[in-house]
Symmetry: C2
Subunit: 415 residues, 2 copies
């Protein structure tokens, strides 16, 4: 058995920033997670052996965070104050002893039924998402290449290298385009993601800002980048239970809690959990002024950018002081088109995932592991693309009413 | 200094078959060789440092043939008699102590003036050609990639792999097409030639017949393939001096000597030294019956094939019992077109050189090292492509008259 996850840092940075928040402020909440294969046409359990998956998940549970890894996290500083640490010492102590909790795995209709966190605390279960996703994706990779000859495998890597070379060649012509590697969860393999990051570090250091992968950020001495995910919004709302006003107010509470904990450094707001229209009504002028910017993760990114510019201008804020991080299913063409649209109007950068770390000519999957319950309450994500909505149908309808959700945009998820 | 040639077997097999013949029958002849860069637009000495070239050539002179290598050659058997060895024991003993003789190297007008064999015996100098050519070619490769990043170099290899994959994919659709790797002298690098051979061994064992490279044939346990080169014809004729009849008769003498030494095993005649028209007039019916076939190395290969078929049929020989080895500047398209033309009419195979072992997207050179003098007499090769003719202009004109050479075909040498 060749382990896929060999380090607890081989995960997305936002799991650490959220992990610290959850550990400090919501230590007793229970959150459950479930896997969804949005690429339904691929019967994943027919490609990937359930026992091999179990073996990999079990192995990941045995990994402890090493002292140098804990030291790395402990030493991350608040940017405008080189003296202050971003993460609490108590959290580092928690990480030292933390283990991934148990999981439930079975096969149903050719798909994996994989759940985490039942009866476990959010503070521990939160790490599974970005550990399990690269495991499943890489097992799928291994299945796809199982019957290839050594030469065919080499040619696959060759194809990946040349595709990456083409991306680099094109993006070099746009020196104002910067990007972040966001592809941990859907990478072709851990080895390949490492290659891609190493190449980007060497080939375009001015445009490649960093990676969401903490292990690779540490390895290559580049910034680990990430802030917050939908699950925080979803849990905050879910805990409000049947109280519609409290559900609606949860988003504001989270914005405040997050700012109070991290301030400017991690102040990139994720706008689409309950639809970006609601977000733009809900964020206050003060927040709009203080927060660094916004992350766009679903829907039409061009319309989103226009809305964001209008939003800031309505408050008399110069959008050219604000940042949008586009992170939804990007490729080179989309990146260039967005840059062309928003150049000189608002800052932008790109969180580039699957198409950066899993572009070798093989089919890719759109797999997600999402929070589905918090203290027993069903959780909901609406997003700006209804194909990405999460939650029981009746809960989704209720949330639509609560948040005045009118969007009808639906687009199949490529990644 | 990373040596390019590390083994005396890293050479073409025909140097061994000719070497044995020369050692046994012409031990006292002196033959001089000279380098020609037919790609005149490339000032080679501006790319390749003359001292580095010297260092590589000097290193090659220090290499002795190892005992396992001598054993490998000593054990090659005559095919229709598993008891008889192809090469003489005295020759193996000679190889054990043989060293590459001195060379003369200078730079003139941006090109290397490189000569071998002045005052040395043919039996020793004969080995330089296929040692010096891969050295110069690989130094040129190194110059071309000198300023590339590690990633750019990896992409170059990736491109080479994908081009090879494409060749393999196409040729698999033509299972009756077989070929031999003939690319030692103009390979991208020794490492890359090794990769190519290894891949072909694994990917198309039924179509890939073997390699001219003795070291790789030994390493991969595949046939070492090759017979004879132009230099034997050229020296035989050159030694005849001013006697035109003797010059003309030299070719027959060589055919007889070669048959007497090796018989059927190495009976692939090279037809173009003095023009294939002369060859087809000169080869006797008995020879045409006995010899396995012909190698086509210049001129129009389609016309050559038609001529060869007519030649055999005129003697009442079924061409379907004979073989043509096409070996002039081949690529996949030429190979398929030739197979389509001659399928079912005559056996064919392909000696595939530069385009097989140096096809990574970088410019290639057409370098040759040819015998230029034998015991002080100027040597001449006419070939079926006047761009490949060798010799002093007045000698070339004299040979044209002697051999009734009427061909006017000229084509720039791609490789």
């Amino acid at each position: 058995m060749e382990p896929i996850i060999k380090s607890q840092l081989d995960t997305d940075y936002y799991k650490i920033s959220m992990g610290n928040h959850v550990f400090l402020h919501h230590p007793d909440i229970e959150v459950e997670y479930a896997l969804t294969n949005r690429t339904k046409k691929v019967p994943l359990a027919e490609h990937v052996d359930v026992d091999e998956l179990r073996e990999q998940l079990d192995y990941a549970r045995t990994i402890r965070m090493a002292e140098d890894e804990l030291g790395y996290l402990a030493n991350i500083r608040v940017s405008n104050d080189g003296q202050q640490f971003l993460f609490s010492q108590s959290y580092i102590g928690f990480l030292r002893q933390n283990r991934l909790p148990a999981y439930e795995l079975s096969v149903r209709d050719g798909q994996f039924d994989l759940k985490f966190g039942k009866g476990d605390r959010w503070a521990s279960a939160i790490y599974w998402e970005t550990i399990a996703l690269p495991i499943i994706t890489e097992l799928y990779t291994r299945a796809l290449i199982k019957n290839m000859t050594r030469f065919e495998k080499d040619c696959l890597i060759a194809e990946g290298l040349l595709r990456l070379q083409k991306k680099i060649g094109i993006l070099r012509k746009y020196p104002d385009i910067t990007f972040i590697e966001f592809g941990t969860r859907r990478r072709y393999s851990g080895w390949w993601q490492d290659q891609v990051v190493q190449i980007l570090v060497n080939e375009m250091p001015m445009q490649f800002l960093g990676t969401s992968n903490v292990y690779l950020a540490k390895k290559y001495g580049i910034p680990a980048i990430g802030t917050i995910a939908h699950e925080e919004d979803m849990v905050y709302a879910g805990l409000a239970g049947n109280d519609n006003d409290a559900v609606r107010n949860a988003h504001q509470r989270l914005l405040n809690d997050w700012w109070d904990l991290y301030g400017w450094d991690l102040s990139i707001a994720l706008t689409d959990t309950f639809g970006s229209s609601f977000f733009f009504q809900n964020m206050t002028e003060e927040q709009a002024r203080k927060w660094k910017g916004l992350r766009q993760d679903s829907g039409n990114p061009f319309e989103f950018g226009e809305q964001a510019i209008k939003f800031y201008m309505n408050y008399g804020i110069d959008p050219r002081e604000k940042l949008i991080v586009f992170s939804d299913g990007l490729d080179v063409n989309a990146i260039i088109a967005l840059a062309d649209r928003f150049r000189g109007r608002i800052h932008f950068t790109f969180g580039w995932g699957t198409n950066l770390t899993n572009d070798l000519g093989l089919p890719t999957l759109s797999l997600v592991i999402k929070a589905v319950k918090a203290n027993g309450n069903g959780l909901v994500k609406l997003s700006d693309n209804l194909a990405k909505a999460i939650g029981a149908p009746e809960d989704v309808e209720r949330y639509k009413r609560i948040f005045g959700y009118e969007n009808i945009f639906t687009q199949e998820c490529r990644y």
